[in-house]
Symmetry: C2
Subunit: 314 residues, 2 copies
């Protein structure tokens, strides 16, 4: 039987490269799509006209399907949506917001729409809104995350049971073994973020990539739980945020310190002291910088080898 | 090739029933062992002579291997160890403490020793101490847990890479699908806690079992992170602890409120208001009270069916 996620997007392997701020531009997305996965442009860190440029460049760099990830809280979201339609992007992943707002618009304009959630409740909401598939993201994932702290291992079976849509697992998936684990749990495909940061094609700053390679167990933490849960790589900026948070600083104060520029400073400009560094727990498993194509191939090879290694019990 | 965990313990299936306070006495342990898994008596909630009684009853109830789980911080631990030797228990799982203290003693007395950890660092320490296998427990697990908050999905590959011992995965494993996922990640067997609380054989209070069946996503939280991380089912006692913790109460104050009696009150006496209720995130997936034997059989059936469903990619 054909894989529902590969079929939905018209791709070879059900591996989606997460649309990550300051990491996934046209170079990474086209490389993943050319390798048989699905590349996503991370619109969250792009001005509208920059997104247009990346879409156009991505089209030139691959004749395979690719998509765009849009955080629904993006301030100029109308402009992003205009560009999506004008540039005839056919795959859109929406995240961090209410799927009611744009799903119908995108579907009317011929897009396949996928919504990212971290809870059963929002998976059901997204299903009602008519999305074509769901990404369920566990606690171990990098960047912004849910309040329930539900891990991928626990979340995937819960969401699978609740919805009737193709399901993509995210969070903690950095190898073909973890991909197979996700599929065993009931996922139809996987979304991989952190692993694709450690590629030459990611637009992330080389110094940030080095930090990802150095990361060990415990190097990240999900912080700001009551305000806006986000998994950060521990650095002096994280220490500062953590200290303020523990002292009971107001939301306003925290938002001021967080600011939007911090993520760019850290992940794009390579300021490892003052910048915000978002990465998943799985960074502890990542020791090599590899081309995106090699990562896709390694996932598939390991997936198949692991499946072959497993034998029935009893 | 034979499964290393099944071989180590001389059991049919590499499923270990976690030794849980106020849940796993001789009835549960013998039922799991009779079903082909490995039952463990949870010594943490037993006075030494009570443990002796449970060991003797367990021996009468099964001719299969079973073991004892001992938290190394147990106050009268010398007495527990004496009983282990006197009663010729041959399988001991140690947890919550330094494996240096008792591993050699237990090995000298002919025991197979397994140590429970939640970090690579302690896995390596346990290996140096000469244990025979490791249980690696993820963030989603119930009860006491590590500070790193590493999820099962991320932890298992890290520990697998670091050690040369048979590896048992714990945390979030409530079905044969999750068991297969754990094996794909590199585990040789699984330790299952929460799922076995929802059995008639568990000595937990029926009202606590009902709460486990009712649990949904977000019903548990890992709290007291700086003091002694523990995953609790949210109830008025949890609210009280959480409030004190957020107000910055001293360790002494928190320890006083926590007290040792709270766990017994909640899980054994069924006081859902004033008692401490320990359970894993996976409780959200548990909707039925089933005999331990049925759970073991269901795990194996689902494991094999899931393995059969998965096909190579590419």
């Amino acid at each position: 039987m054909a894989n529902s996620i590969a079929q939905l997007f018209g791709i070879r392997y059900p591996i989606i490269q997460a649309g990550m701020v300051w990491a996934s531009g046209w170079r990474l997305a086209s490389a993943v799509s050319n390798a048989g996965g699905l590349g996503l442009l991370g619109a969250g860190s792009m001005y509208p006209e920059i997104l247009r440029e990346h879409i156009q460049k991505c089209k030139k760099a691959t004749d395979k399907p690719f998509g765009v990830n849009i955080p629904l809280l993006y301030p100029d979201i109308d402009k992003l949506m205009e560009i999506i339609v004008e540039e005839k992007v056919t795959i859109v992943f929406t995240a961090a917001g209410n799927p009611k707002l744009w799903t119908e618009f995108l579907k009317t304009n011929g897009c396949i729409v996928v919504h990212v959630i971290s809870s059963v409740k929002f998976a059901l909401k997204a299903q009602v809104c008519g999305v074509d598939a769901i990404v369920a993201e566990g606690f171990e994932a990098g960047g912004h995350n849910g309040r329930e702290e539900t891990t991928t291992m626990t979340l995937i079976p819960l969401v699978k049971k609740a919805i009737n849509l193709p399901l993509i697992a995210a969070g903690g998936i950095g190898s073909g073994q973890a991909m197979l684990a996700a599929m065993a749990l009931g996922a139809d495909g996987v979304q991989v973020g952190s692993r694709f940061v450690a590629t030459p094609e990611a637009s992330s700053h080389p110094d940030f990539k080095s930090e990802v390679l150095k990361a060990e167990q415990g190097s990240t933490e999900l912080t700001l739980k009551e305000l806006t849960p986000v998994r950060l790589l521990k650095n002096p900026f994280y220490d500062q945020i953590k200290k303020l948070y523990n002292e009971g600083a107001s939301s306003e104060k925290l938002k001021e310190v967080l600011g939007r520029g911090r993520a760019k400073k850290g992940m794009f400009e390579g300021d490892l002291v003052e910048g915000e560094l978002e990465i998943g727990q799985v960074a502890a498993q990542i020791d090599t910088l590899l081309p995106a194509e090699s990562i896709v191939n390694e996932f598939i090879t390991t997936y198949n080898a692991t499946l072959k290694r497993l034998t029935p019990l009893g």
